[in-house]
C-alpha cells in the first residue's frame, strides 16, 4: 500500500519535472528606446513585443515552450543601450536580441552581441548595420536606399531634374542624406540645395526660401516627427508649388494630424501598413498586416505604426528561425535566419542570405500621397 503510494508520487514527480523542463521558457531580449527623444520609435515596439509574447504563448509557444521577451528601455541613450545588451547577455542569458531602435545605438552594440555569439536583429535602418555583413547582425526595417529609390523613380517619371534636400541633423536624417546624395548623382539628377535642420527646430522658412531661390523642381525632406510637419506648414505658408517628398519616417497618422491641411498632396514612400485596405487581397502580406493591425488596435486602443512593424517582423522572423532550426540556440537561430526565404512580414517580404542581412528590397515600399487627410496609394 505504502509502496504503491510512493510509486505514484515518484512517477508524478518525474512527469512533473519533465513537464516543467519542457515548459522552460525560451528567453529573448529586446532593447528599445521607449523614452527619450526616440520614444516615438520605441514605444510602439515595446507594445508589439508585449503583444507578440502574449500571442505566441496563447498559441502554445514555440516548439512547445513558452517564450519570454525581456524588454529593456535604453532611453535613446547609447550608454544605457550598451548596458542593456550586456545585461541581456550576462544576466538574462537570452538566445537572440531584438533591437535597438536607433542606428547609432545599434552600431555601438553589434560587436558586443557578436562577441557573445548571439544574433542581434536590429530595428534600425542604417545601411552600416548590415553592410558589410556581420554574421550575427540582422535588421528588419526597409533600407533608406529602398525608400530613396522609390522616391527617385517617382521623381524621374514626373520629369523632375533639379532636386533639393532638407534633412534632419540626427542619425536618421544623416543616413538618409548620405544615401540620397549618392543616388541623386548616380541617377543623373542634379542636387541644387542640400540643407539641414535641427530635430527640435520650429521654423524652416529660411531653408525653404533658400531652396526656392536655388531653382529646385522638387524637394525631398527626410526626418521624423515633428520636423517634417513644420516643413509642410512652412511650405504652405510660403505658398511653394514644387512637389514635396517625405521619407517613410513620417508614414503615420500623427504626421497628418500635426501638419493639418498642409499635409495635402505630400508624396512619400511607405510600407503597406499605412494603407492595409488598399493592399490587394491576394498579396502575401495582406493577412499578416490585417492580423497585426487588428490585434494591436484591440490591445492598445490605437493603430500600430510602421516602427512597431519592425519589432513585429523581428519576432516573427526569429520565431520562424527557431521552428526551422528545431532548437532555440543562438547559433542555430542565426544559421536558420540566414536561410529564411519569402517570409511575409508587416514591412515587406523577407529573404535573408549569407550576404544579405536585411532581406527586403524596394518592393517593400509603395508610393503614397496624402489626399483628404488619408493615404492614397499611387499606381
Amino acid at each position: 500500500m505504502l509502496g504503491w503510494r510512493w510509486l505514484v508520487v515518484i512517477v508524478m514527480g518525474w512527469v512533473g519535472t519533465g513537464l516543467a523542463w519542457a515548459a522552460e521558457p525560451i528567453v529573448f531580449g529586446a532593447v528599445v528606446s521607449a523614452t527619450g527623444p526616440a520614444a516615438f520609435l520605441g514605444e510602439p515596439q515595446k507594445n508589439t513585443f508585449l503583444l507578440l509574447e502574449e500571442e505566441i504563448n496563447a498559441a502554445g509557444g514555440l516548439d512547445g515552450r513558452p517564450i519570454t521577451i525581456v524588454v529593456y528601455d535604453d532611453e535613446s541613450d547609447v550608454n544605457k543601450c550598451v548596458l542593456a545588451v550586456r545585461r541581456l547577455l550576462d544576466q538574462d542569458k537570452v538566445v537572440a536580441i531584438f533591437g535597438p531602435s536607433l542606428s547609432g545605438n545599434t552600431l555601438a552594440v553589434t560587436k558586443v552581441a557578436a562577441a557573445a555569439r548571439v544574433p542581434l536583429i536590429s530595428m534600425a535602418a542604417a545601411e552600416k548595420i548590415v553592410r558589410p555583413v556581420d554574421p550575427w547582425v540582422f535588421n528588419t526595417p526597409q533600407l533608406d536606399r529602398h525608400a530613396g529609390i522609390t522616391i527617385l523613380q517617382h521623381a524621374k517619371a514626373a520629369g523632375h531634374k533639379r532636386l533639393a534636400l532638407l534633412t534632419v541633423s540626427d542619425g536618421y536624417g544623416q543616413a538618409g542624406r548620405q544615401v540620397l546624395q549618392e543616388l541623386i548623382s548616380a541617377q543623373g539628377f542634379s542636387l541644387v540645395a542640400d540643407e539641414v535642420y535641427g530635430p527640435k527646430d520650429t521654423d524652416m522658412t529660411a531653408q525653404l526660401t533658400k531652396i526656392v531661390g536655388a531653382g529646385a523642381d522638387a524637394l525631398i525632406c527626410w526626418g521624423t516627427n515633428p520636423g517634417p510637419a513644420v516643413v509642410a506648414r512652412n511650405r504652405m505658408q510660403l505658398g511653394l508649388s514644387i512637389p514635396l517628398y517625405m521619407s517613410h519616417g513620417v508614414a503615420s497618422p500623427k504626421f497628418i494630424e500635426l501638419a493639418g491641411p498642409a499635409a495635402e498632396g505630400i508624396l512619400l514612400p511607405a510600407g503597406r501598413l499605412v494603407a492595409v485596405d488598399q493592399v490587394p487581397d491576394g498579396h502575401p502580406q495582406k493577412a499578416v498586416l490585417q492580423a497585426y493591425v487588428a490585434a494591436y488596435t484591440k490591445r492598445f486602443g490605437m493603430p500600430p505604426s510602421s516602427f512597431g512593424g519592425y519589432a513585429h517582423d523581428a519576432v516573427r522572423l526569429v520565431a520562424a528561425a527557431v521552428r526551422k532550426a528545431g532548437v532555440a540556440e543562438p547559433a542555430a537561430i542565426r544559421d536558420a535566419l540566414e536561410n529564411l526565404q519569402n517570409v511575409a512580414g508587416v514591412s515587406g517580404i523577407y529573404s535573408y542570405s549569407a550576404d544579405n542581412h536585411n532581406g527586403l528590397d524596394a518592393s517593400a515600399f509603395l508610393m503614397v500621397s496624402i489626399q483628404g487627410s488619408t493615404w492614397k496609394v499611387l499606381p
Binding site: T35, P37, A39, F40, E43, S169, E195, V196, Y197, G198, K200, T202, D203, T205, A206, Q207, T209, K210, V212, G213, N225, P226, A229, V230, R233, M236, Q237, L238, G239, K254, E257, L258, G260, P261, A262
Partner: protein, 290 residues
C-alpha cells in the same frame, strides 16, 4: 519674393517665440535675482495643458484660459512649496532647485499627458499674411502683438506701479527692501506666478506654430535664457529684443551661411556679448567691476 525679407520675417516670428519665453525669465530675475531654469517648462506646460483641454472636448478658448490659469497656479505653488522654504540659502541652491522643478514638471507631464507631439489650431486660420512680398503666419502676428503688449505692460508695471517698483527693489537689495516695508516673500510669489502666467500665454500662442510635447521646454528655456542674456537680464524690452535678435541671426545664418550651424552661430554671438558686454546689448551701460 525677396529672400532677405523672408529671412527677416521668419527670424522675427521665431525670435518672438524666444522673446516670449525670455520675458518670464527676466521677470523672476528682476524680482529675485534667480535664474529660473524651469521657465521653459512653464511655457511647455501652458501649451500641453491647452492641448489636453482640447483633447477632452473643451473649446480651444476655454482650454487656453484654463491652461493659463492652471500654469499660473503651478508657478505660485512652485514658489510656495519649493523656493520659499529655502529662506536665505545661497542663490546657487535656489538655482539648483529650479533645475529640479524643471525635471519634475517634465516628468509629470510625460507621465500624465504622454510623449506625443501635439498642435493647436491657429487662432486666425492657416492663411498666411503677405508683408513686403514675404509670407508670415497669421499666428506669428498674434505672437508679436502679444509680446509687444506684454513688454509695454511690464514697462508700465515696473515704472508706474508700486508693486512693480517694490519688486525691483527686492532684487536690488532684499534686506533694504524689507526694511522699508516691502514684503519680499509676497513679491517673490507674485513674480513666480506672473512668470508662469507669461510662460503659459507664450506656450499657447506658439503651439500652433512650433507644436508642443513634454520635452520642448528644455530648448525653449535655453533659447529664452540666451535671449535674456543677449538683451540684458532684467529688462523686458531687452529680453524681447534679444529674442528677436537671436531669431534673426539664426534665420539669416540658415539663409546665407549654413543651416547646420545656425544655432552655433547664434550662440557664438551670445558668448561674444557675454564676454565683451556682460550686461547685455540693452542692459545698463556702466558695468560695476567685481
Amino acid at each position: 519674393m525677396a529672400p532677405l525679407i523672408q529671412y527677416l520675417m521668419g527670424g522675427l516670428t521665431l525670435g518672438s517665440t524666444y522673446g516670449l519665453t525670455a520675458l518670464g525669465f527676466t521677470l523672476i530675475w528682476s524680482a529675485t535675482g534667480i535664474v529660473n531654469f524651469a521657465q521653459g517648462e512653464f511655457v511647455m506646460l501652458g501649451g500641453m495643458l491647452a492641448v489636453a483641454g482640447v483633447a477632452v472636448g473643451l473649446s480651444q478658448l476655454w482650454a487656453i484660459l484654463l491652461a493659463v490659469a492652471g500654469t499660473t497656479v503651478v508657478g505660485a505653488m512652485v514658489e510656495r512649496t519649493m523656493i520659499r522654504p529655502l529662506g536665505r540659502r545661497p542663490v546657487l541652491d535656489v538655482v539648483i532647485v529650479t533645475l529640479g522643478v524643471a525635471m519634475v514638471v517634465r516628468g509629470l507631464v510625460m507621465l500624465f499627458l504622454g510623449k506625443e507631439t501635439h498642435v493647436l489650431e491657429p487662432f486666425s486660420g492657416h492663411v498666411p499674411l503677405r508683408v513686403f512680398g514675404a509670407a508670415i503666419m497669421a499666428q506669428g502676428v498674434w505672437v508679436l502683438a502679444t509680446a509687444a503688449a506684454v513688454v509695454g505692460g511690464l514697462k508700465v508695471f515696473f515704472s508706474a506701479t508700486l508693486e512693480g517698483k517694490a519688486m525691483q527693489a527686492c532684487a536690488h537689495d532684499p534686506v533694504a527692501a524689507s526694511l522699508v516695508g516691502i514684503s519680499v516673500p509676497r513679491m517673490t510669489l507674485l513674480s513666480f506666478a506672473l512668470s508662469a502666467l507669461l510662460g503659459a500665454v507664450g506656450g499657447v500662442l506658439i503651439t500652433p506654430i512650433t507644436m508642443t510635447s513634454y520635452d520642448v521646454g528644455i530648448l525653449l528655456g535655453l533659447k529664452g535664457f540666451a535671449a535674456c542674456v543677449l538683451g540684458g537680464l532684467g529688462s523686458p524690452l531687452g529680453a524681447m529684443a534679444g529674442g528677436i535678435l537671436l531669431g534673426v541671426v539664426e534665420s539669416l545664418t540658415a539663409g546665407y551661411l549654413s543651416s547646420a550651424y545656425k544655432d552655433a552661430v547664434a550662440l557664438v554671438v551670445l558668448l561674444a556679448v557675454l564676454f565683451f558686454r556682460p550686461t547685455g546689448l540693452f542692459g545698463p551701460r556702466d558695468v560695476t567691476r567685481v
